[in-house]
Assembly symmetry: D2
Homo-oligomer: 313 residues x 4
């Protein structure tokens, strides 16, 4: 049976992927909230969406639906608000009897996962998150091939995605609100690496500023050099020449992992899994949340033999 | 020589057409402001755009550029903010020595045009507006064909463009901020009709609510029945069946004016005209601003023989 | 034992009375939230108050305290936010395991009381409101004297309290947010009248605009003509001459009820009663919420023999 | 003749002193703006104040008055907004033909004074600021007594004024918006010291964090050790015991300067001086703005023989 969805943060950048996933999984969007009112995007999905600019009024509406006929209540709340509000918006959803599908990172700080787990238990509702690389066909295949041996691999992760000055003016540039570069643009990759190569042994952080971070991670079956940046000057020459503004590369033992294809509709795939009871929960989200938290709070290590090549330029 | 542009309201719905027009006319976007910080759209145009969330800091930046080298100063400010702020943002631009390209409606109330004209005179800068139907090739042709005779035509204007509940929650649904349906979605058409058929003789308004308005206008060479709505229930059956959410029709003496094609990049065309010194100024904007103001403040007339057919349903 | 309090809306006009009541009843203010950050007033009460400008972060903090040691959890939340947010903020408090002391009007619309009652039942926490005239010594005395007979009294209520143009610009001037004049400035008096003279039989409303409202109420033991206004032009001559900006009068059978004294610290009195288990709950709030809702939605009656004298001027 | 005033930031902490000064110098408050709508304070001064919550609409109103009859135009704008908006709000005032009385610090960064001076010249209007210690009778006397000799004095400035956690959540705790402790709570004292002892020779800064700053200044005729803090733990024991929350001390050659009296209505005194053409202009504001800017950007010096005693605890 078709489910009723409500979306928090519907005016933001990532919301359309959730709107599409709701529609493409055959469900209904019935309510939405955003502090800004520029949400004409809704008209592409439905003309029957109650809209609010204040979370309090949204909460009132969801409470009203909870007390009304079963077919009207909200079954799922999709959370697309700024990172630092995720856990609070998840709580709101659980309290009105809804399950949650929350953008990554589920939370910025690991202890907020504990609180969410307790409220899950109290409300008997579940929080899921979007770890979309785990449903990417090429990466699933890679994982299977890696699982067969216990070898320790050498991995290099490079992700450079240019952002203009607006990025630092927005909540994304505010560490308290976004968690900084490692959390905001890196968490997917860190989750992927742990999923591929096992739990974290130790970390080093060599560089940390508003634009870029770089470090080393020892995983059960990999030694990872990573470099993340939103500064276009970090793009490799070949990317610049080609007019590319994003460069993404993962190499395993020097061999490039091919995963540039297959990114379409990963949100929809995660929705499908979640609706089928195979979603990613708090337990799944925890390792990468802990890792990024540790990276954020780590002391800077002096450069040794381990850094990512871009740091040694 | 390439001009420097700044955009006010860069996070809103209509801003991308201005961003595209700036780029496609070979100019540079160098600064932008929006009260909301979700403006990743900028990265599609340039990575060198100073961004602000407060109009005061934007003003400081423009003042600084005004006092710096000539090649750095802002030549044009594009105003894409909510309607009720247009004139204030135009003033800001004129005061820092820039010309203006302002979204329609230039202002909600005609007396604000007087103030803008005076500041134009004081600052020697010009305010232009977007009256894009006047650069539509099919409509230019229609105008020429009509110009040849003094006949009085019977015109029917129907524009129904579905909007969900968010519309009424947003500034667009607030009459004080948008001017209401006739101003917000209708002003282009009213400008077009005056441009095609000459000045307004008299008006009647038969219906006026948050969702729709309808009335009659006597122009020098036409008698116009008009109907404007954001309510999807007003769509004609054939549109509903075809899954259309917008219905736009102008008939002249019972014959449909074909203008569904040619809408691409009309903003860019207006920019080209403006940069070539053939833009639409305050004088051009005035008649439709006055007409929509009169419509807004008119008493409701009892239905007589003149109303638009959709009102007689 | 001393209780921990948190205050929602601490930067507003009425908050200091709550801050004082918390202090003067020997309790501790430990957390506060307001969307505006101009809350230096806190320093007059305590230097140990966690402060938030976002309700989501405030909620996170209260949840954290709920999960910590018993002596740290919030026992009471005082709600001083704009009227239309009261019920949502009460829900927030109940959900984190706190009791509530909420400014009047508890809610704008009666059906929101139903939802609050259900959440009270679910959470085993209680919502109380400020009906401070019920603890005014002179009015308690009046009530006792009236209780002795079943006579039907003629009552005239006049309350004129001048407000400048800011009032109509603020949420108080927005009917949806404040409930309008009868609700925002009148509800205390309507509660008082019902408390003194018994339940409502019927009502008439003669006048209703943004500035003033006037009508007639039949109570079990009184016929009430009432007039409420925020327009200084309605002040009686003697008040104007004396430079007064507020005029408050209740007459019973032509005799003035004296209650200008004794207004000091009525909030503190209500807090004392509430802490002693004798507070005013949803049941107490309901009759005046229903009455003001009925007044708001009533048709205007033509003037007959019953109106308040100020309407007949 | 009585002047017309408008106030920017009328809902904030410092605004009432300006409202009082406007009234007590016999002038008229006719317009006000604040982003928050909780401005009932206005009713204590006048019921005829146009109020706005958006600077754009306020600007429209002032422009309208500028174009109307001379007796209606705004003669003075009082700026009480957050520090980082001061210069932008001064510009707004100058552009609508008003003179300005701006709270301290006039600007955070000295280069913004240059821009203001140029706009003063363009508009023929003047910017004044509040340097109220310069009109304090006891300090005027001190200055006269010091002027008679060329001695170099040893000065110790200690100012500790407790603030709760809200301070750091508000704009005051944001260095970019307030300038930090030295600028926000210290600038009066730095202006005073320069005014008493002549221009700055050199500075050292020993300590700098969100709560406190401390350093050394060489002035023409004084060597100053200073300590500024908003942390109540820095209060001297005697203050703590007495329940004081603020400690203010200036000693000259070991002798306490008595200036605890005479603080009443210094804003009104500054208004009187300004209206009489003896106000403090950009030139007067500059030295302390430059000094606090230098302090803000200084490297931390290692502790040597010069620090303030509280640093050596």
């Amino acid at each position: 049976m078709s489910k009723n969805f409500a979306v928090i943060g519907v005016g933001g950048y990532i919301a359309p992927r959730h709107l599409r996933a709701i529609r493409d999984t055959g469900n209904r969007l019935v309510a939405a909230v955003d502090t800004k009112d520029s949400v004409g995007v809704l008209d592409q999905y439905s003309y029957d969406v109650k809209f609010f600019t204040e979370i309090e009024r949204f909460d009132r509406h969801l409470e009203k639906l909870r007390r009304g006929p079963e077919e009207d209540r909200i079954h799922f709340v999709s959370v697309c608000s700024p990172n630092y509000l995720h856990d609070s918006h998840c709580r709101l959803a659980l309290r009105v009897g809804a399950d949650v599908i929350c953008e990554k990172p589920l939370v910025i700080n690991p202890w907020n996962l504990d609180a969410l787990e307790e409220i899950e238990a109290e409300t008997k509702r579940r929080v899921h998150t979007i770890l979309q690389l785990r449903v990417h066909p090429g990466l699933i295949q890679l994982r299977e091939s890696l699982q067969s041996s216990k070898d320790i691999h050498d991995v290099e992760l490079t992700y450079i995605t240019s952002r203009g000055p607006w990025y630092h003016v927005s909540w994304k540039g505010n560490h308290e609100k976004s968690g900084g570069v490692a959390t905001n643009i890196g968490i997917h990759f860190f989750d992927l690496l742990i999923w591929l190569f096992g739990p974290v042994g130790g970390i080093k952080v060599y560089h940390k500023d508003d634009d870029k971070m770089s470090g080393f991670i020892e995983l059960e079956r990999a030694r990872v050099r990573w470099f993340l940046s939103v500064d276009k000057n970090d793009l490799p020459e070949q990317a610049k020449i080609g007019g590319k503004t994003t460069y993404r590369s993962i190499t395993v033992d020097g061999k490039e992992v091919e995963f540039s294809e297959g990114f379409t509709d990963l949100h929809t795939r995660v929705y499908e899994e979640t609706l089928a009871g195979r979603g990613f929960g708090i337990k799944d989200a925890r390792p990468s949340v802990e890792l990024t938290h540790d990276i954020r709070s780590a002391e800077i290590s002096p450069l040794d033999t381990l850094p990512h090549p871009l740091l040694r330029k």
